[in-house]
């Protein structure tokens, strides 16, 4: 195993190093976009290819919601705005988003 070198830690931890690195990441490839995005699930069954594309269009009080919901192969739902949650219900997901981000939903929370 490689031991941790304190000099390497000092170099990596320096605010200028970390800041320069993060500035380079400012617009990463694959960055997420706002608004509904499709979740594409694929598998094979009895020699045939299955593709299931799911898009959640969420509207609150007539206003489209920019928060994204993704569904995994397991059927569980995730949102990048709530990275430590997993949901079995899209309604629960939207309830949690509204409580966590009340200012983004007209402050009703």
């Amino acid at each position: 195993m490689t031991a941790i070198d304190p000099e390497e830690v000092a170099a990596a931890a320096a605010p200028d190093t970390l800041g320069r690195y993060l500035a380079e990441l400012a617009r990463p490839a694959g960055e997420q976009t706002s608004g509904p995005a499709p979740s594409v699930r694929t598998t094979e069954h009895q020699g045939q290819r299955i593709t299931v594309t799911t898009t959640y269009d969420v509207v609150v009080d007539g206003t489209p919601v920019t928060a994204q919901l993704h569904v995994a192969d397991s059927g569980m739902l995730y949102s990048p705005a709530l990275p430590y949650h997993q949901f079995t219900s899209a309604l629960d997901a939207v309830r949690a988003l509204m409580s966590t981000y009340p200012d983004h939903f007209g402050g009703g929370g």
Partner: protein
């Protein structure tokens, strides 16, 4: 000589140094501004502590594989890299506190949340008293990270994530106070903290497989929220019936601990120090092993044992480097 990380409730000196160090890093200008990091809104200075907030957000946006979905797995979460990535983050924060205090003996303390979980998850536990992290509130209004009207030394949250998961400026660029909302019911949060039995169950997890490899205890294909192993159980995805351990602590604490900007709450690092302590216990029980190795396909590039822990490859560290950091730090006690 290696640092010894201790329970914050048993080491008042470490607690004071941590609080002082965080306060100083919150005021240390990096010389860069929000626009340097692609964060929209008015141009505002960025301070050293907030670099860790931005880093955590960005790492959570990078999918593995690069053309994949960060909600499947990303450079910091939802896969085997979760534990080594956060170990590196702790070391770099710890070093910065040492630097700004001029004290190379400083070691990050940990919050043993399982002790509070065993005690019924009290919202007035010692960790939440004004001498430690302060309590809950919107904003928090006591302790070292409280927000007090007209006080120029307020602990201010400046960078956050919006409901779209993207980085933004808190308070439209004016900043705001820290928010904690303990023990909210599902789906807003979670009513209890993990217990020592939960930690024990994660540590003792064994794969239900007639011929498991040693590393199968840690993780298995497809190395995601769905794969069962110690990593996924400690991160808190499995069993998928409810939030567990690491995730559960984020949900119980609530407020600023819920989004990817969760390092805004200084308790984040005390929490992750305890997660890291649990990983160290696992490594000492079962060997300093990790999976996937470098024979895994490019689908897992960024998760494999020899891949660099961040992009671009400006840091030399890999998951392999994080498996044994005993020359840097140890723990006073392991679960």
């Amino acid at each position: 000589m290696a640092l010894v990380r201790r329970n914050i409730l048993h080491d008042q000196n470490a607690a004071k140094k941590y609080i002082t160090g965080v306060g100083l890093l919150k005021k240390e200008s990096t010389g860069r501004t929000t626009n340097s990091f692609g964060i929209p809104g008015p141009v505002n200075p960025v301070y050293t502590y907030d670099l860790f907030v931005i880093w955590h957000i960005r790492a959570g946006m990078f999918p593995i594989p690069r053309n994949g979905d960060p909600m499947l797995r990303n450079y910091a979460h939802r896969g085997p890299v979760f534990l080594p990535w956060h170990r590196l983050m702790l070391i770099l924060l710890e070093y910065n506190i040492q630097r700004i205090l001029g004290d190379s003996s400083f070691a990050l303390p940990y919050w043993d949340w399982s002790a509070d979980g065993d005690d019924g998850s009290p919202t007035d536990a010692p960790i939440w008293t004004p001498g430690y992290m302060g309590g809950q509130g919107n904003p928090v209004s006591d302790g070292p990270f409280g927000f007090f009207p007209n006080d120029p030394n307020n602990f201010t949250v400046r960078i956050e994530t919006g409901s779209d998961g993207q980085p933004s400026q808190a308070g439209n660029g004016r900043g705001r106070g820290l928010v904690r909302e303990f023990a909210r019911p599902w789906p807003e949060g979670w009513a209890t903290l993990p217990t020592s039995a939960d930690v024990k169950a994660a540590l003792e997890f064994a794969p239900d497989n007639p011929n498991p490899r040693p590393e199968d205890r840690y993780d298995v294909i497809d190395f995601s929220v769905n794969s069962d192993g110690f990593r996924s159980r400690l991160e808190g995805w499995r069993p998928a019936t409810r939030p567990w351990t690491h995730n559960q602590v984020h949900l119980w604490t609530g407020g600023d601990m819920l989004p990817m900007s969760s390092p805004n709450d200084p308790v984040f690092f005390l929490h992750h120090c305890n997660v890291d302590r649990t990983w160290e216990s696992w490594l000492q029980r079962y060997g300093r092993i990790y999976t996937p190795d470098m024979t895994a396909p490019d689908t897992y590039a960024g998760e494999r044992i020899g891949d660099t822990l961040a992009l671009p490859a400006s840091y030399p560290y890999t998951p392999k480097d994080m498996l044994d950091v005993s020359n840097w730090c140890t723990y006073d006690q392991l679960p």
